[in-house]
């Protein structure tokens, strides 16, 4: 721990100002608008108006229902998979790890369009079912479609968190239970379940928030009677003055913070510290023949489901005509040609916005990590907390907040802020900052402070120490943070839809949405989607490589 110098204070103040301007104030504006009347006084009238509209009550119920059902189905998919990987010895583990990543590299709303063609009313599955058995399954009808698409997209959150917490359970705990005469379901209920629960709750609450706030998927599936689409519709068609839109935003924020706060409280309260860690890993049983059949069957079925949006998107991007048939009839590369002819600007914009946003994130992340872990600056934890709150902020709310707060703000060279490229960079960076910060914190906590002390003993200044010692040593974590910020921003749609004021400013995610709104555009939209998925997939793969290859004990190069 080092002294607090004016430089440190200045950096901390700058970061605080940034967070205040682009996170706290916009959200506060939204909340203020929801609670204020025309003269600026306090009122609950907008909330009572909201409650008086049956459509709003219905949307509220639907959003809760969809989020709840998605958590349920995501758990049904993920729990058996997590248990299998951690507790059994078999070769499917690699497949399951892949399963955990595949859905996340495709933005949910992109998959939705392709799933319509596979599972929709006259989709491949229903055509086959109708042909053979004479019935169809309404998988994609109304709310079902949203639940189905979101489940396939978000179940990895449950899977990854639960697998991690199952893997952490010390065998000795179970052995102790067995020694005391417990076995079977009782052992599971008394020992395994409570120990694994924090991981599950963390994953499930994340799924709940993400689904509750999602805008793109319901819009692509034509579902409007949910909260996020209603807020979007009110604000875009009635205008930024419509108070109901802000009421919905407040509800989204409250639920997101409650879900996240609740899960933390739960994890904190129930976090059973396990004394002996490492050494003994969980017992991995061999599968019996029938268990193996069941396990591989389940994994195969889930893999097929998980791959279906990817496959559907690829087929759509290559098909000339796909109408009322199980598979497309004619194939073409023309859609990719169209995209490269008309929409290279969108691909460029995605790189620009997400690149700058990710850069900003790792700069801020590194600085905050340093302030929190290496200085005794009073109130430094506050920065960390503020960033963490961003994790619970729905993109829609931040987007509306930006439009409202920065309306009429003109910048030199850039022009109106809300109609400029800068607004995307800011919005993307604020919401991805928590990911980058976690990454940077982890990296910095693995750098031993004695290295910095050694440098300072040799007479290096604080700045020199940071740039020559700390940052190079953290580079693995910084890079990983950069990539995570970049890929999650590339697939973002909620803020993007709201903030895109002109086509030339649109990033790829908006382009996909826009293309998907016309008949001749379905193919190019899918082609752009394929490009986005490949980009995000590559990024994710690189970040895994970086994290895997850069262990904290690596010797850094001369210059990073």
């Amino acid at each position: 721990m080092t002294r607090v110098t004016p430089g440190v204070v200045a950096v901390a103040l700058a970061i605080a100002a940034f967070l205040l301007a682009f996170l706290v104030v916009p959200v506060a504006t939204v909340v203020y608008t929801a609670f204020s009347n025309a003269d600026g006084g306090f009122t609950l009238a907008h909330f009572s108006a909201f409650a008086g509209i049956s459509l709003m009550r219905e949307s509220f119920a639907n959003s809760l229902y969809v989020a709840g059902m998605t958590v349920l189905f995501a758990s049904l998919l993920a729990v058996p998979l997590a248990y299998l990987t951690v507790r059994f010895q078999f070769r499917g583990a690699v497949v399951i790890h892949t399963l955990g990543v595949l859905p996340l590299i495709m933005p949910a709303f992109v998959g939705a369009a392709a799933m319509q063609l596979l599972f929709g009313r006259s989709g491949s599955l229903n055509l086959v079912l109708n042909d053979i058995f004479g019935f169809t399954v309404p998988l994609m009808e109304g709310l079902n479609g949203v639940i189905f698409v979101e489940t396939l997209h978000y179940f990895p959150f449950v899977l990854l968190n639960l697998a991690a917490s199952l893997a952490n359970i010390d065998t000795s705990m179970e052995e102790a239970g067995q020694n005391l005469g417990s076995s079977g379901f009782r052992l599971f209920r008394k020992i395994v379940l409570p120990l694994a629960l924090p991981g599950y709750i963390a994953g499930a609450s994340l799924v709940f928030i993400k689904v509750f706030d999602d805008l793109g998927t319901p819009l692509v599936l034509n579902v409007t009677n949910m909260l996020a689409p209603q807020a979007y519709l009110r604000v875009t068609s009635i205008g930024l003055e419509d108070p109901i839109g802000y009421v919905i935003c407040v509800i989204l924020v409250v639920f997101s913070i409650a879900a996240m706060g609740g899960s933390w409280w739960f994890v904190k309260r129930r976090d059973f510290a396990i004394q002996s860690r490492g050494g003994v890993s969980a017992p991995r049983r061999r599968l019996t023949r029938w268990q193996a059949v069941l396990a591989y069957g389940w994994i195969g079925a889930v893999l097929l489901l998980v791959l279906s949006p990817h496959l559907g998107l690829l087929l759509l991007s290559l098909s000339k005509v796909w109408s009322f048939t199980v598979f497309p009839e004619q194939f073409t590369l023309a859609h990719f040609a169209t995209v490269f002819e008309d929409s290279t600007r969108m691909i460029y914009n995605t790189f620009l916005y997400c690149g700058l946003a990710a850069l900003l994130d790792v700069v801020l992340g590194t600085a905050i990590a340093y302030l929190v872990l290496r200085t005794k600056l009073p109130g430094r934890q506050l920065l960390d907390h503020m960033v963490t709150v961003a994790l619970a902020m729905p993109g829609l709310v931040l987007g509306i907040g930006y439009l409202r707060t920065f309306r009429g703000v003109e910048l030199p060279f850039i022009g109106p802020l809300t109609a400029s490229w800068l607004i995307f960079v800011l919005a993307y960076s604020v919401r991805r900052l928590p990911y980058a910060l976690r990454s940077c914190m982890a990296a910095l906590s693995q750098v031993h402070v004695s290295l910095e002390e050694a440098a300072e003993n040799m007479g290096a200044s604080r700045w020199r120490t940071v740039t020559r010692i700390v940052v190079p040593l953290m580079m693995g974590g910084i890079l990983a943070g950069f990539v995570i910020s970049f890929v999650t921003a590339a697939g973002e749609i909620s803020e993007t839809i709201l903030l895109t004021s002109r086509e030339s400013l649109a990033p790829m995610s908006y382009g996909i949405y826009l293309y998907m709104q016309s008949i001749a555009g379905r193919g190019p939209g899918a082609a752009l989607g394929v490009i986005a998925v490949v980009l995000i997939g590559l990024g994710t793969w690189f970040s895994h490589r970086i994290v895997a290859s850069r262990s904290p004990h690596d010797v850094p190069g001369e210059k990073a």
Partner: protein
Amino acid sequence: MLASRIAFAAALLAPALALADTVTVVTSFPKELTAAYKKAYEAKHPGDKLEILNKNTAAGIAYVREQPVGSRPEVFWASAPDAFEVLSSAKLLQKVDSGNPAIPDKVGSYPINDPDGLYKGQALAGYGIMWNTRYLAANKLPTPKEWADLAKPVYFSHVAVSSPSRSGTTHLTVETILQGEGWNKGWAQLLAISGNSAAITERSFGVPDGVSNGQFGIGLVIDFFGLAAKNSGMPVEFVYPSVTAIVPANIALVAGAKSPEGGKRFIQFALSEEGQMLLLQKDISRLPVMPTIYAKAPAGYPNPFSGSIQAKVNFDTELSESRYYVVVALFDQMITFRHKELAQATKAIWDAEKRLGGKASPQLDEARKLTFTPVVDDKQIADKALLALFKADKKDEAASKQKAKVEEEWASKAKANYARAVELANGAK
């Protein structure tokens, strides 16, 4: 070090992003069309940059209204004439004097250009029925010809429509039916068609898209969606029913725009022979307003100037504009948001009809009446106070409250009617 890199990157990129001489066009038109115009226009006027803001009509109006004078977009370009009425009555449009003399004043009896010169017809559009031939064959459905056909039991769950609140073109279709058939009969038809619908889609694109990929059998669409899909090889057909109106899709210069001269240049281009020819492109398939263009169109291309489309309805824009907000709100409260209940009531009625085999039944008549009667009748819609209430300023808190109350009344009445109709139809003897 990193900070200076950001600054450097920003400095490098800023000039590429801040463009001079930009013509901004707010439009609801699909990307194929805007991309073709952008390319052709920028080739012709290399100094200008065409900037497209793709928004549906309602959001487009809201956007123009919210921009301060001086930073508004230059051009508004959309299908729905009433959108232009809304804009011109809000004094958001500016007169354009020049035009193309080869464009006639009228198509049929409908004026192509705004009499006050605030907006000009750029293309013509009719409304019609589009269907997927494979879907109809697979479900053994007859080919529809008129709106009334779609209100028949055989089409239950095979139709798709959009909501007028989200799509200006759908509002035109709805208003055309209401004007062509009269308020009460028109709503009866609309309610039955919507009851037969599998979905009320979020944007008007959702209908032609669903029909072309076979999700829906039949859809109510603006002609170019049907024609463009057909011309790009989809197994679909399109027909103009007799209750249709040929209405211009307009283009207008927005008042208080950044560069009005650029806006005028683009409007001039869109009305020129070059701009009109672009409309014939396969994936655009729109009807030009310049009659001589049709000589260069492929065989069988519909021509509204030659009488190949029968348009019985003389669209009354003023009437449409005066009740715009009420029609839109009414449609949403009775149909969009209560679609599940409406479809259940419709199904119950069709089932009862089948069961009774044409036998008269007072319960069934009552059920029909409850389901297919608008909650606002033709006398109430003529009420000036109601129309004024829906046009009131959003900031007027008392008016918004009153409006919300009225909407809520419609919604609960519609819901109760549908529920009662299901009971009656199920018990009909």
